[in-house]
Amino acid sequence: MGAATETFYSVIRRQGITRRSFHKFCSLTATSLGLGPLAASRIANALETKPRIPVIWMHGLECTCCSESFIRSAHPLVKDAVLSMISLDYDDTIMAAAGHQAEAILEETRAKYKGQYILAVEGNPPLNEGGMFCIDGGKPFVEKLKLMAEDAMAIIAWGACASWGCVQAAKPNPTQATPIDKVITNKPIIKVPGCPPIAEVMTGVITYILTFGKLPELDRQGRPKMFYSQRIHDKCYRRSHFDAGQFVEEWDDESARKGYCLYKMGCKGPTTYNACSTVRWNGGVSFPIQSGHGCIGCSEDGFWDKGSFYDRLTTIKQFGIEKNADQIGMVAAGAVGAAVVAHAAVTAVKRLATKREDATQDT
């Protein structure tokens, strides 16, 4: 805990972070937020002069995947110091204090920074049986959540659990796991869904709030527009194969090796709003579709109860798009299934793919 006048910059410097890395962080953040180059100096200026905002990070019913994602952010500063720079005053998973000492930090922050701190919530409260499916410090988590929310400036709902309920709220939802906006109704809540959310999205959102002292622009569902305004499908690198009616029919089949569209394998990219196909995962290395598996739509509300994840040939109409996969395939190839692949054999894509295959023979 620092004094109220402490700035982020002073915290950073105390951690031994160089001024150069600090500026690099600012420009990368500006880029990832989709802001122009001038924004970098605005961010730097804000972090140097504004008093830092304390962040309390609480865990309810969850699996810690959001924290896991967060600490692997590719930002150069994150690995150095994000945990201290963002000044997590309280985080069950990584902090030093334990037990009642930790509880005391919560109380102190609440009193000292009344109305000024950010409450970041990972997981959600289960309401069945008086909340006893998630007991934290001898009390149901929902009580701790309500208490800390009361004096928070705003709340970040990390991940699908806090935003929508996620798999633990899947039918029959044995514990009545409940998204936090159903429990906290009088505070601004920013939803950062995904299971987990992308690390760069998490750091981007939190840096925006800390820098500008306000929430980023949200869509109707409470998600930051800068990261959740596009469908995975819109920016998917396999999109051209969807348009050409070229589809994978089985895992690792000939079409899979050619990188065809995974729609028939149950891909939910066309109905999922997230930044996976642009920001990507694990340091920008890849994302689920790139691994050859369809998107499961983990940032969408109710993704866990929309029928099997492996349903094939689901009609696109159901998703509210123009044509279903087979119709598109038929337009392209005059037939479905094998004929789609046969058609593809004469396309340039096929020739490129063949070349690539030659190059990947055993060495």
Binding site: H59, L61, E62, C63, T64, C65, E68, S69, I71, R72, L83, D92, T93, I94, M95, A96, A97, A98, G99, P126, E129, F133, C134, I135, D136, G138, V167, Q168, A170, K171, P172, P174, T175, A177, C195, P196, E250, W251, D252, A256, W281, N282, G283, V285, S286, P288, I289, Q290, S291, G292, H293, S308, F309, Y310, E357, A359, T360, Q361, D362, T363
Partner: protein, 479 residues
């Protein structure tokens, strides 16, 4: 006698509460509570079996690949199919990366920061330890986190994203690795080796793995740099080998299934230091002290239904037993069953304890770093990575794997193409189990008894060391 409660525990995965009865400064009885339950087994019932590949990994954000691999393994059993050899190798590489990352997280972020506490300010090593390992501020995390993040780029290449990867299927992995990707995998494995050799061990992995006895280890670490030696130095000073004795029995389901069997074999390391075969059908779950309704004891036939008002119960975790006995699982068990020379010698001479658990984890990390290099070389890029199988006859099936923290089993019953029952026994369910109907305590409960807490009560740091030496994953425990 006084009763003290410790919780919530920080720096463990999920929520944990421990109650201790203390008499003249020593723990005489311990109760371990898993206070978090979500109901995955109930949620999985009635769904299409393959949906387990998406739902089950979400039990845990830290060992999600282990959950994926266990689900895929149970489904493979159900489909009576084989996995493509490349798929097994790719799975092994990803699984090894996750397990190694978990071991690093445990050592750097969860376990070592306790030695930076003020309670140790008078020790000769304290300044150096505080500089290196203080939670969120120590210099070690700044080196370990990037190394770990780099290692986990493996997940990007093989599995698209992590945690909660979906590329692991009964027939293998969904993605064929390309030549350029193989080269990237190799460079990641090499970077990981360099990190281990430079920062963790200050020696080559081959040299570290040639240490065969406890006394050789003492000779090796004297005067050596590196975080492993740093730990060994303070472990000797604090006699951590005398802390947190396990129940004596160690179990491994066998890890990293390859074409020629497992890298680390399946078995039990018994009290007389003999390695015996594992009688899988002797695995049972007792619910006498869990907030759960009575059901069959055999996980292949049992169901999980909460009973929150049950008298006597104190945890959401069931009590798994092997042939009626509590058993310890984890890297120590895996390496003892695998006959790793140093770990075998350590366990034979001083049993399972705080020091040996940490040593076994780091020794295992060195072993899997080497194995990853081999698996990457063995990939045959033009061969299939995934084989198709569709049929899933009615019946009861099982998938047994080793997660970083120990033995993980998924028991699956299929009826008319739907999941009839699904039971999961996770590593920490074994280690942090409550008492059974014979009032026999679980491994951690036994390990805590006898601990000297002095006047410190709930602040006694020894308790923290013992609890964390098991590297608990509480969200897996009761799921």
């Amino acid at each position: 006698m006084t009763r003290i409660t410790i919780g919530p525990f920080n720096r463990v995965e999920g929520d944990l509460e421990v109650r201790l009865d203390v008499e003249s400064g020593h723990v005489v009885r311990a109760e371990v509570t898993a206070p978090l339950y979500r109901g995955f087994e109930q949620i999985l019932e009635g769904r299409p079996p393959l949906d387990a590949l998406v739902l089950a990994p979400r039990i845990c954000g830290i060992c999600s690949v282990s959950q994926s691999v266990a689900a895929a393994s149970a489904l493979r059993d159900a489909m009576g199919c084989e996995a493509a050899p490349n798929g097994l190798l790719a799975t092994n590489i990803a699984h090894a990366a996750e397990n190694a990352a978990d071991h690093l997280t445990h050592f750097y972020l969860f376990f070592m920061p306790d030695f930076a506490r003020e309670a140790y300010a008078s020790r000769a090593w304290h300044n150096a330890t505080a500089e290196r390992f203080t939670a969120t501020r120590g210099s070690a995390a700044r080196e370990a986190l990037p190394a770990r993040a780099r290692l986990l780029e493996t997940m990007g290449i093989i599995a698209g994203k992590w945690p909660h990867s979906i590329a692991f299927q009964p027939g293998g992995t969904t993605r064929a690795i390309e030549l350029g990707e193989r080269i990237r995998l190799m460079s990641i494995a090499t970077a990981f080796r360099v990190f281990l050799e430079r920062v963790v061990f200050a020696d080559t992995l081959e040299n570290v793995l040639s240490i065969a006895t406890a006394s050789e280890l003492d000779g090796w670490h004297a005067g050596r740099a590196g975080d492993f030696a740093h730990f060994l130095g303070l472990a000797d000073d604090l006699s951590l080998a005398r802390l947190g004795k396990g129940p004596g029995l160690l179990m491994s389901y066998g890890a990293y299934h390859g074409l020629e069997g497992e890298l680390f074999p399946r078995g039990i390391f018994g009290r007389r230091a003999l390695i015996e075969p594992l009688p899988v059908n002797q695995i049972t779950e007792d619910v006498s002290h869990a907030w759960m309704r009575e059901s069959a004891v055999d996980p292949a036939h049992s169901t999980t239904v909460p009973d929150p008002d049950k008298p006597q119960a104190y945890s959401w975790s069931k009590a798994p037993r092997l042939s009626g006995q509590p058993i310890e699982v984890g890297a120590l068990a895996r390496q003892a069953v695998a006959g790793q020379p140093l770990v075998t010698d350590l366990v034979s001479t001083s049993g399972s304890n705080v020091r040996n658990r940490v040593i076994a984890r780091l020794i295992e990390t060195a072993r899997i770093a080497l194995a990853m290099e081999e698996w990457i070389k063995e990939l045959r890029l033009s061969q299939p990575f995934c084989l198709e199988a569709r049929e899933m006859p009615d019946g009861a099936y099982v998938g047994l794997v080793e997660a970083a923290r120990g033995s993980l089993g998924h028991w699956l019953a299929v009826r008319a193409g739907k999941i009839e029952r699904y039971q999961i026994i996770a590593p920490t369910t074994w280690n942090f189990s409550p008492r059974d109907s014979f009032d026999v305590a679980g491994p951690l409960e036994q390990a805590l008894v006898g601990t000297d807490v002095g006047d410190a009560g709930s602040r006694a740091v020894a308790i923290q060391h013992i609890v964390r030496s098991f590297d608990p994953c509480m969200v897996c425990t009761a799921h």
